[in-house]
């Protein structure tokens, strides 16, 4: 083996080398994919790009709004389930478990079709979508938060207790910061799942990404390029969510 090629092989063994090898692999797969997809009917769907992009935008809006509302509701729910007095705890548990054990589509239908009968007022599809997705997000995020709170070892709380710190201070300065860091992997998984759940409001007529693609397909009939776009849209979105959460995750190492 010549000196130069030996040096290249050696450099590929390093962490950086492996990283570049991996990137090269991904690039090759993407090129191969693009090559395989080159003959699809792109011309037919090109004119619809604005419509599709708007659909994707609505999916993001639904996801962000429901995650925001859901997170705001999830915190008190999780706290009630972990720290609440018996009655409150049971109520929070019942609420969370009920929502989690009902198919999401069912909840969406209830909010859209049944809630108007109960409250005697009109609920449009967009309101129903936001409402039901927020309820779903609240229940699932509450469980992520609860798992995070439970992940903090008992010894941490005891160590703080022995210094005379109040329960509130212990929660704010010892439990919560560690819980937030520990919940990052579960949080990523849950946010990705919630993003994909937004596609279900397709069923009540909200023109989000899945429905936009379907509507275009019904008029143009170009399923191959359209469903490829659909997959790519969700993939890129979920990937972005993953990266975004990791970016907020402060680098630190755990002991114990």
């Amino acid at each position: 083996m010549s000196g130069a090629s030996f040096a290249i092989v050696q450099s590929l063994r390093t962490e950086r080398g492996k990283e570049w090898l991996w990137r090269l692999g991904v690039l090759l797969v993407v090129i191969a994919g693009a090559y395989a997809a080159r003959d699809l009917e792109w011309g037919k769907v090109a004119a619809s790009w604005q419509f599709l992009l708007k659909g994707l935008g609505r999916s993001w809006l639904l996801a962000l709004a429901s995650i925001f509302v859901g997170a705001v509701a999830a915190f008190p729910l999780a706290l009630a389930r972990v720290y609440g007095p018996t009655g409150v705890r049971h109520a929070a548990t019942a609420l969370i478990e009920t929502v989690r054990s009902i198919p999401e589509l069912m909840i969406i239908f209830w909010v859209y079709f049944t809630l108007p009968l109960v409250i005697g007022a009109q609920v449009d599809s967009w309101e129903a979508a936001l409402g039901s997705l927020s309820v779903i997000a609240a229940a699932y995020l509450a469980e992520v938060i609860r798992a995070g709170l439970y992940s903090v070892p008992r010894g941490q709380i005891e160590a703080a207790e022995t210094t005379g710190m109040s329960r509130l201070h212990i929660f704010l300065h010892v439990v919560l910061p560690q819980a937030l860091r520990n919940m990052v992997p579960a949080l990523i998984a849950q946010l990705v799942a919630l993003f994909k759940t937004t596609s279900l409001v397709y069923a009540i007529g909200v023109m989000e990404f899945l429905r936009s693609v379907t509507v275009i397909n019904n008029t143009l009939f170009a399923p191959y390029p359209l469903y490829l776009i659909l997959a790519l849209g969700y993939f890129v979105s979920c990937f972005a969510i993953t990266r975004l959460v990791r970016w907020f995750d402060p680098k630190y190492q755990l002991v114990d």
Binding site: G155, T163, G164, M165, V255, D256
Partner: protein, 243 residues
């Protein structure tokens, strides 16, 4: 300073402390030893009411721990505790581990707390690690930080629950040195440990527990050479033959 009077404690059906009585004066260093499961940790954790007792009475610094009116948080602030597994806060730097409680409990300013903390870190020999995270320290260093963290509250009493039993032999010494210094400064200490060398050097008394009872409560010289109870002698022969 610390009085146990016929203390009884149960975990469900399990009777873990049986009529435990003793008295510890200010400035005394008491080593507690005994077989695994004899109730040493439980006894120690009763002193700052991490465990509640079922019968008997504990009085610490004049405060009755069972009385519902007692301000336990205030008392805890004056009792430092060091755990077998350190229990440092992993998300905080060493310095922040030390100053958290003084700031939140005593209302000390950050500057003053930092000043005190740096002095304590110097005392335990690791001021250069002030801005490291606990996970970046060796076990011995972590335990010394844990001792400094407890001292940062300027406690009158220090409790140690097997502070060296999770450490490698070469690290045990550095931690024991810190504890010896503390004992020589007149700190009131209860130390659960099987480090009999430490007991010989600084303990005023050795309490030996077995199956939830205090079996021996003697000066170290007496305990090591003429323990009355056969269980204590068996325990001693096992543990001393190990070293």
């Amino acid at each position: 300073m610390i009085t146990f009077d016929k203390v009884n404690k149960y975990f469900n059906q399990l009777h873990v402390l049986k009529d435990v009585s003793f008295h510890i004066e200010a400035g005394e260093v008491v080593v507690v030893c005994g077989p695994s499961g004899s109730g040493k940790s439980t006894m120690l954790r009763c002193v700052n009411r991490l465990e509640k007792i079922d019968r008997g009475e504990i009085v610490v610094k004049g405060v009755n721990l069972n009385a519902p009116t007692s301000d336990i948080a205030k008392l805890r602030a004056e009792i430092g505790m060091v755990f077998q597994h350190f229990n440092l806060y992993p998300h905080l730097r060493v310095l922040d581990n030390l100053i958290l409680a003084p700031i939140k409990v005593r209302g000390v300013s950050r500057e003053v707390a930092t000043d005190t903390a740096m002095k304590l870190l110097a005392k335990v020999g690791i001021q250069e690690k002030a801005s490291a995270y606990p996970s970046q320290l060796s076990g011995g260093q972590q335990q010394r930080v844990a001792i400094a963290r407890a001292l940062a509250m300027q406690p009158k009493i220090m409790l140690f629950d097997e502070p060296t039993s999770a450490l490698d032999p070469e690290m045990i010494r550095e931690v024991l040195e810190v504890m010896v210094d503390l004992a020589n400064e007149g700190m009131t200490m209860i130390v659960v440990t099987h480090e009999m060398g430490f007991a010989r050097r600084v303990a005023h008394r050795v309490i030996f527990m077995d199956e939830g009872r205090v079996i021996e409560d003697e000066k170290p010289e007496v305990f090591f050479s003429q323990a009355k109870d056969p269980r204590a002698r068996v325990f001693l022969s096992k543990i001393l033959s190990h070293i």
